[in-house]
Amino acid sequence: MQYSVSSRRFWQLVLVKAKMNLKAEAAQSQLNYLWWLLEPALFIGVYYVVFGIFLNSRTDDFIAFLICGKIPFLWFSRSVSNASNSLVAGGGLMNQINIPKLFFPVVVIAQDLVKTFVVFLLMLSIMWLMGYMPNPAWWAIIPVALTQLLFVSSLAILFSALVPFLPDLKFIVGTFIILMMFASGIFYDPAQFLRPEHRELFMLNPLAYVISEYRAIIMEGELPQWAMLARTAVVSLIGLGIAITIIKAFDSRYPRQVLQ
């Protein structure tokens, strides 16, 4: 009857909990689920106004370039910052039931994944409206997104596992996310602005790499560099393994740690 991470019941609970959280969140605002679309749409609107109208020197291409970078980055930043506090936030619950603590960050990741799916559809529709025709290469977004999911999960779980022990880390998480924004080429094209000798190093950042692939697929209709994609996926998978090992190792210490 006890929950274990490998049981079907555990994952069923994760899904139900994620669904209920989304429902509860939607119930707190007037426009409910519409916010899933409105929030990224507002972001895109701001970019359009700032870069398209005020900084008129930019082309349409640049707005598309921004959207393809910012939307995947939003997925990353949202999941990592929400998950980093998930064990602390779940302190009450983990003191009532004996449950694998992986439950808490995984629910957050699942919740954000559902929203992200909708937002990606919005992103693709906007790109289509901007004249980037859907083509078979777009299917390659799926493996790239799965790779990003591995990377996002690894950092989300890692931070969630460490924050209860190092509460001050939550201030660093915010800074880290901003650092990642600059290190992933959201606002600039790394191919253009970086020195050639730095480019390879830059692409070791999984987020920078997947964002460059989204852009290549959506804007140029190019297929991903599969070897590089596989390498990034493997690195992310190893990171995920390490993060899960850490959270499991401290599993029984969290209920007390979050109360202290």
Partner: protein, 240 residues
């Protein structure tokens, strides 16, 4: 009643550490060398004053908190801590919360869904069952929590102060439901401030004071000694 042991607490100690400032901590010993057994089919009451370690002890028995010293030996599969309103989310309906709570307590989605009519019925929520829990009175919330927890089947049931829920009529109903479980050979560990409840329901009692076991044994004897101890305390208003 079988005498086989299902849970053994062996010299359990547990200390909480609280952050007090810049790398400064204070320590609080919640359990100090606690030992006793729980046998199959019996109902054990844990009595003691506020802050004596009762709730911490239940969490140790439920395997939620790991002791710093000593060990908990379990001869059963599933020990369930029944606290009210497990994981309640105030923006969701009573129905959704009942599903979530039942699942958190170890049921599958199918079992939880199947139990919904019974939960709604027992909690006497009527149409409010589909209203958000934030609109509930505290009594309604407690009734929903109790009813959801009640359908959980576990080898050992740990009950924390549950019987104080709702109005006096529901209290009776809740007590009857617990009695039902007790009579069906369910092993129950039961924490309460009310000596009268412990006396009615329990075969044996454990008296905790400042994290230490003062006495384990027959309910009547332990309660008498506990009451006598309370009478010696300087502030009689605090007694229950």
């Amino acid at each position: 009643m079988s005498e086989s042991v299902c849970l053994e607490a062996k010299n359990i100690s547990l200390t909480f550490r609280a952050r007090r400032g810049f790398f400064r901590y204070s320590y609080h010993t919640a359990l100090d060398n606690v030992s006793f057994d729980i046998r199959k089919g019996e109902t054990v009451g844990i009595v003691g004053r506020n802050g004596c370690g009762k709730s911490t002890l239940l969490k140790v028995l439920a395997d939620i908190l790991k002791p710093d010293a000593g060990e908990l030996v379990s001869h059963v599969n599933y020990v369930s801590l029944q606290s009210l309103a497990t994981g309640f989310e105030k923006n969701l309906s009573g129905r959704d919360n009942a599903i979530l709570s039942a699942m958190l307590l170890g049921h599958t989605l199918e079992q939880a869904t199947a139990a919904l009519p019974d939960i709604c019925d027992f909690a006497e929520l009527g149409d409010s069952f589909d209203e958000p829990v934030k609109t509930y009175s505290s009594g309604m919330r407690a009734r929903l929590g109790f009813s959801t927890a009640m359908l959980m089947h576990a080898d050992v049931l740990l009950v924390d102060e549950t019987l104080g829920v709702g109005d006096s009529r529901f209290k009776k109903k809740a007590e009857a439901a617990i009695l039902d479980k007790i009579n069906s050979d369910q092993t129950v560990v039961f924490v309460s401030h009310q000596s009268s409840q412990v006396e009615r329901l329990c075969n044996r009692a454990v008296w905790l004071e400042k994290g230490q076991v003062m006495e384990v044994g027959d309910t009547k004897t332990v309660l008498n000694n506990y009451q006598a101890f309370l009478a010696t305390l300087p502030n009689p208003q605090k007694r229950k």
